[in-house]
Amino acid sequence: MGRISLNQVTKSFGDVNVIPPLDLDINEGEFVVFVGPSGCGKSTLLRLIAGLEDVTSGEIRIDGQDATMVPPAKRGLAMVFQSYALYPHMSVAKNIAFPLRMAGMNKAEQDKRVAHAAKVLNLADYLDRRPGQLSGGQRQRVAIGRAIVREPAAFLFDEPLSNLDAALRVNMRLEISELHNTLKTTMIYVTHDQVEAMTMADKIVVLQAGRIEQVGSPMELYRTPRNTFVAGFIGSPKMNLIEGPEAARHDAHTIGIRPEHLAISTTEGAWKGVVGVSEHLGSDTFLHVHQTGLAETITLRAPGELELRHGDTVYMTPEADKLHRFGPDGLRLA
């Protein structure tokens, strides 16, 4: 249960081609994250899988069955929407039971499943409330509950955490990961937040303009980004990308070095620059260094207790084995 494969799937809205031919395999029980900048087609891709949009061409198979023309309700997938999409006039219990009621399940079985979902999600005390009386995190849990009771082949999450505040987001991130470990069901999760992608995914799919830029485990993407886009997108703060003579010295069109792979010194080093803004996070300090002659700004991570002022001169040395080299087409050089 829960194997999904896309075969040469395309989607156009009128003349606008949103998704060029695309292949993707999602294995059973995997937590797959679609990540990319806004407008990259990741939500469209999810809606194609859900069946809320029709594919223009190509084939979607769920558990080996052709599901391209199957209506959404029959695909055995459950979706959690960005706005939660709870039914405001129904109580929490009725919301969770709605898919079961639509499936014509008997009342006793419905109650049993709702009670079970409520226990898993800590919603037992709120079953009689309306969604309007719940906090953001609780609404999110109700939406997940509505998905769980159907025992779907796969869960689809469409940016489920983007309406929550930062602290709650971290909590819900953990809860969803925990849920995946308990249920072991395939989950597809769409987000524009690369932190969510890195922390939750078994497999990340990086999308840009409808194209898959790279598919791989979080650490694979971090260690060996396939091109400059993935290199810049994965990792926080962003990787420094340097072009020009310094790149040519390494036989590349562009070289990339992550802020955490630059050693800092006030006396000597490979590159020299002037400190601009420094962001103190406590554990770390992110320095924005200017006038290096390499790129407009070089970001680097330094220890938290570092005392450097605006305008001080610093020296930086890249760790040689952590240097990424890219060709003129943006692709990684071996």
């Binding site: 859900a50 309700a73 997938l77 979706m79 706005s83 709605f98 499936a103 509505r146």
Partner: protein
């Protein structure tokens, strides 16, 4: 922040408007109540005298009074039913993306801008006339006897005319309500396995609850006082078949010159309207709480 001083100033400032409005309402009301206790006939000027409850007794025992109550109820309920069912269906239809959407929407709203006398006359003379009317022509074209709407089914005809006028209002309110429905809710219901009918009854209709309440409240206020359509089409007839309470008060005071009796009818109409209002607010007013 509201200090003692600024609250006093606010009261002084709004008092002229409040006093004017109160006077506007209270003076006619008090005069009507006063007239309803007088023997006041326009054919016998200068002979007004206090008669106690006589006017009320005559008005309440008039057989036309019960007919009028029944007609008023039939008119209000019939029009409400047609406009709400029709309005929901039309709103669903107009919500679909289609070519020429803007023009179609304006056309649908148009009847609301036609004044009641004009629309009633158009219906009476151009559609329902048993000789020249469009419906008569249609009946004849298929070989049927033309149907004389206003004398065979007078109340139904008036309900039809009034519904035609109020359908756009209901459609407009319900259309805006449908458009405010979060499309993700419908998609979620679709994923949950709800077919088109289930989506309508479980998601769309509950969402429209508040808009329907507003339509019922506003329309009831206006439908209780329908007058022009009856005056220009049937004159309350045949017999009392289309006489509603408003029209009965008119007949009493201006056709029979009995101002006292008409006033008594007016007071009774006010009391009945308030009873209806209380029931309405009890029954459906809770829908308006957020």
């Amino acid at each position: 922040m509201a200090t003692q001083h600024s609250r006093l100033a606010a009261r002084v400032m709004i008092s002229p408007a409040v006093i004017l409005l109160l006077g506007w309402m209270l003076i006619p009301l008090c005069l009507t109540i006063y007239f309803s206790f007088l023997r006041y006939n326009l054919l016998m000027p200068g002979m007004e005298e206090f008669t106690g409850w006589t006017n009320y007794r005559y008005f309440l025992t008039d057989p036309a009074f019960f007919a009028a109550i029944a007609n008023t109820l039939a008119l209000v309920l019939g029009v409400l039913f047609i406009t709400i069912v029709g309005g929901v269906l039309l709103a669903l239809l107009l919500d679909q993306p289609m070519w020429g959407q803007g023009i179609v929407r304006i056309l649908v709203i148009a009847p609301f801008f036609v004044m009641p006398t004009v629309s009633a006359l158009v219906w009476k003379n151009m559609f329902m006339n048993p000789v020249n009317g469009l419906f008569a022509q249609l009946f004849k074209a298929v070989g049927l006897q033309p149907f004389d709407f206003l004398s065979q089914a007078p109340l139904m005809s008036i309900i039809g005319i009034v519904s035609w006028q109020w359908l756009p209002f209901a459609t407009l309110i319900l259309l805006t309500a449908i458009q405010s429905l979060d499309s993700e809710q419908l998609e979620a219901a679709e994923m949950d396995g709800a077919g088109p009918l289930s989506r309508f009854f479980y998601i769309i209709l509950p969402h429209l609850g508040r808009a329907i309440t507003v339509v019922i409240l506003i329309q009831t206020i206006f439908l209780l006082s329908i007058f022009a359509e009856i005056l220009v089409t049937t004159n309350g007839g045949p017999g009392t078949a289309t006489t509603n309470l408003t029209y009965l008060v008119y007949v009493q005071s201006l056709l029979q010159f009995d101002v006292g009796g008409g006033s008594a009818g007016g007071v009774i109409a006010i009391i009945l309207a308030n009873i209806v209002a209380i029931f309405l607010m009890r029954m459906i007013g809770k829908n308006l709480d957020a």
